[in-house]
């Protein structure tokens, strides 16, 4: 009889309902009540008849199964089903929400004694074996976490089970350096009407992006933690709840992700990403950004997000400023040619993350535009001066080549400047202009990485061609042969060159402050004696104002560089100042 039960649970009848998305437990219970009960009675009767010689009526009296015994059988059946579901729970969670049937099956299971612990233990084990290892990408883990939240909220709306199984995931995610960036950028990802993420990238967790796009009322935390006396559905906290467990009623799914990180850190990351996003954004209304900010304000308090607010206000103000200056210039129509399509973003540098400040010579026409704009700005806001950050701008470039006309939109200014430098009024007709990287560097007063980036960009657009090492020539005519062969390679190169971002990267920041850090390390070692990389990192974190965002690895590399430059010496596992 026991085997029969197991077989039924493992059989086709009890497989997960993937299509109807309904639990099958009702059917199972029904089967136990009727079919199984019947077989059981018959079997018992048979056995009794065979081995005993009692009157039949008496036997039948004995064999009417009581309700409590029926319930036991039911529980056993549910238990078996539950165990088999738990075994594959990870798969069900990953394929949420098609697997809702399986999750609902478990809902009955967890009412059984001991089932909840078995479920959490087993699931945590599956998680650590299948997900929480170096092979899984952070986005992947975030996606699974997202499904876990959904599945376990369905399973146990009180969130006790969720808080238990989520702990290892959260713990693990905190160790992933890129997790915070991915969550923050997912918050700002574009979602189209169908609920799909536009331009998906490996760095965006689509679940979060879609969740952020939900109507704002879903997130409003109206009741707070106050006890609602009119709540007729009130239930005591489940028995396995932790002491610190609080019933978080209106907790949105986004909250689970945001609360993963330290509040300050998340806001810092958000500032960086918001800054880049605002500068790149082609949408002039910034509705989504405003909404996100309001949403986060209810969560973090408005004072924490002041910088983000100022950033948003900056871009909105800039729009007005652009219009005002354009108007002014149009009125003073004496210089017709200055009425142009230049939009400036006026940023309050104090509130923005460290921006790229690379300077270089912009084309003369552009410089003139900047000047007239700055004049317009100063006439509106007296006592204020504009400080141009040419590396952040974008423009549309039109190129007239011998056999074709190239128009490229959203070109970085430095890329435009580089291609502008290939324009040479003295060049003889028919002879393509050639420039070397070094020439460009000098002519444009631009740093080498930027020049190279720009050159690769134009090679990718099939405008330039590397004719010799570091020397580039304008591709005035496209021969059909080269087109096909080089198109693929060129496109690839272009993709790579797109990777320079407006916000300073970690490495840029390190490079920029290298001198200061080196000086600090020198004085630290002069006065504090021999120290190892770990201690130096700790000290730097302690003394550098505004925080020291680098870890032991970066500091170690910096110090090894200083050893090579003969500023430091390695002494017994630590570093010391080399006496000159």
């Amino acid at each position: 009889m026991d085997r029969l039960l197991s077989e039924v649970v493992a059989s086709e009848r009890c497989s997960v309902d993937w299509y109807g998305r309904m639990p099958i437990t009702a059917r199972l219970k029904d089967w136990v009540d009727n079919v199984y009960n019947y077989i059981l009675t018959e079997a018992e009767a048979f056995i009794c008849k065979k081995f005993r010689s009692r009157p039949e009526a008496e036997v039948e009296q004995d064999l009417v199964w009581g309700w409590s015994e029926m319930k036991q059988w039911r529980d056993i059946a549910l238990g078996r089903l539950g165990v088999s579901r738990v075994k594959n729970l990870f798969d069900y969670v990953v394929s949420w929400d098609k697997s809702i049937g399986a999750i609902l099956d478990l809902k009955d299971y967890i009412t059984l004694p001991g089932a909840r612990t078995h479920l959490t233990d087993s699931f945590i084990q599956q998680l650590s074996r299948r997900l929480l290892h170096a092979g899984a990408t952070t986005t992947n883990i975030l996606d699974v976490y997202f499904s876990v939240i959904h599945a376990f909220k369905e399973l146990d709306p009180k969130g006790v089970l969720l808080s238990k199984v989520a702990r290892p995931i959260r713990h693990y995610l905190r160790d992933r350096d890129d997790a915070i960036r991915i969550v923050a950028s997912s918050c700002l990802a574009d979602v189209n009407e169908e609920g799909d993420v536009m331009n998906p990238s490996p760095d965006i967790c689509s679940g979060i992006a879609i969740e952020i796009g939900r109507p704002i009322s879903d997130f409003a935390d109206g009741h707070g933690q106050k006890l609602d006396w009119d709540d007729m559905e009130w239930m005591p906290a489940p028995v396995d709840a932790e002491p610190e467990y609080k019933k978080a009623k209106a907790d949105s799914i986004v909250a689970y992700f945001i609360s993963l990180f330290e509040r300050e850190e998340f806001i810092k990351e958000l500032q960086n990403i918001l800054g880049e996003h605002l500068l790149k954004s082609e949408d002039q209304e910034f509705e989504k950004e405003i909404r996100l900010l309001e949403l986060l304000k209810t969560r973090f308090g408005s004072d924490k997000l002041q910088a983000c607010e100022v950033m948003l206000k900056d871009v909105l103000d800039s729009k007005r400023m652009n219009a005002a200056i354009r108007n002014k210039q149009a009125q003073g129509a004496t210089r017709l040619n200055t009425v142009t399509d230049m939009h400036a973003q006026i940023l309050s540098s104090f509130f923005w993350p460290a921006l790229r400040e690379d300077t270089f010579a912009v084309p003369a026409e552009l410089a003139a535009l900047q000047e007239s704009y700055a004049a317009g700005f100063e006439s509106i806001k007296s006592m204020r001066k504009l400080n141009w950050l040419p590396a952040l701008g974008r423009t549309t470039v039109e190129l007239q080549l011998q056999d074709r006309h190239v128009v490229v939109e959203y070109v970085q200014i430095w890329q435009a400047s580089v291609v502008y430098a290939f324009q040479d009024p003295n060049a003889m007709a028919g002879v393509p202009v050639t420039r070397t990287v070094q020439e460009l560097e000098e002519q444009l007063e631009m740093e080498e990485p930027l020049v190279r980036n720009a050159v690769t960009f134009w090679v990718g657009k099939m405008v330039l061609k590397e004719t010799a090492t570091d020397a580039f020539t304008v591709l005035e005519t496209l021969s059909s042969k080269t087109t096909e062969k080089e198109a693929a390679a060129a496109a690839e190169a272009a993709e790579q060159s797109a990777g320079v971002s407006a916000i300073k990267t970690h490495d840029d920041l390190l490079e920029q402050n290298k001198e200061l850090y080196e000086q600090m390390i020198l004085s630290m070692l002069t006065n504090g004696g021999i120290m190892d990389g770990k201690k130096v990192t700790m000290m730097l974190k302690f003394v550098v104002p505004g925080g020291f965002p680098f870890g032991e690895d970066e500091v170690g590399a910096l110090m090894r560089g200083m050893v090579e430059a003969e500023k430091l010496a390695v002494v017994g596992g630590g570093f010391a100042v080399r006496k000159g």
């Binding site: 200061l516 000086q519 600090m520 020198l522 004085s523 630290m524 070692l525 002069t526 006065n527 504090g528 004696g529 021999i530 120290m531 201690k535 700790m538 000290m539 302690f542 003394v543 104002p545 010391a576």
Partner: protein, 185 residues
């Protein structure tokens, strides 16, 4: 290590004195003290004057260790001296307590490292900072004020017998390695 032991009694009264005067406003001011010290540290790092350097001790912005090298053309040429800075919570309105931790033979510095310098006493002003104190001390090494000596023998020998003076300087000087400083700090 003996010099370190000797400092302790002199250090304690000073610090507690300062603590009493500012007990009420201490918590409020300690934030501004660390802020000021952090700015001082940054400007010190940026300017990087040769021959002087200073850095906070392990996890404590209110106690620094500084190093100055003896100026050329003085008996202290080629030697380096370590100092300890203890900033009261009323800094910069009160002078920091500065002591030589390296034993030094000098007319205005006694054998426990205490310094007789007007700007560290009654002439202190909030416009001074770590860098200016270090520079003053460096110049004090070359131009002692022999009219108010802490070390009478040194004051006498400075003019009378430069050779003997130099000998005593070298005899007294010992390089404190980083480890020693750490143990005492």
């Amino acid at each position: 290590m003996d010099s370190v032991m000797n400092q302790t009694p002199s250090t304690t009264p000073d610090i507690t004195n300062v603590g009493k005067t500012s007990a009420s406003s201490r918590s409020k001011e300690s934030g501004s003290v660390t802020k000021r010290l952090q700015t001082e540290l940054m400007s010190l790092m940026m300017s990087s004057v040769p021959g002087i350097s200073a850095f906070p001790n392990d996890g404590d912005l209110l106690n620094w260790t500084a190093t100055i090298s003896g100026p050329d053309g003085t008996p202290y040429e080629g030697l380096s001296f370590k100092l300890s800075f203890a900033f009261p919570s009323t800094y910069p309105h009160t002078a920091p307590l500065v002591l030589f931790t390296t034993p030094i033979f000098h007319p205005n510095i006694d054998f426990s490292g205490r310094i007789c310098l007007d700007i560290l006493k009654d002439k202190w002003s909030p416009i001074y900072n770590v860098q200016s104190v270090l520079l003053s001390l460096q110049s004090l090494l070359g131009e002692p004020n022999n009219s108010s000596p802490l070390n009478g023998q040194a004051a006498e020998l400075w003019d009378k017998d430069p050779a003997e003076f130099k000998r005593l300087v070298l005899a007294r000087h010992r390089d404190i390695t980083g480890d020693d400083v750490e143990m005492s700090g």
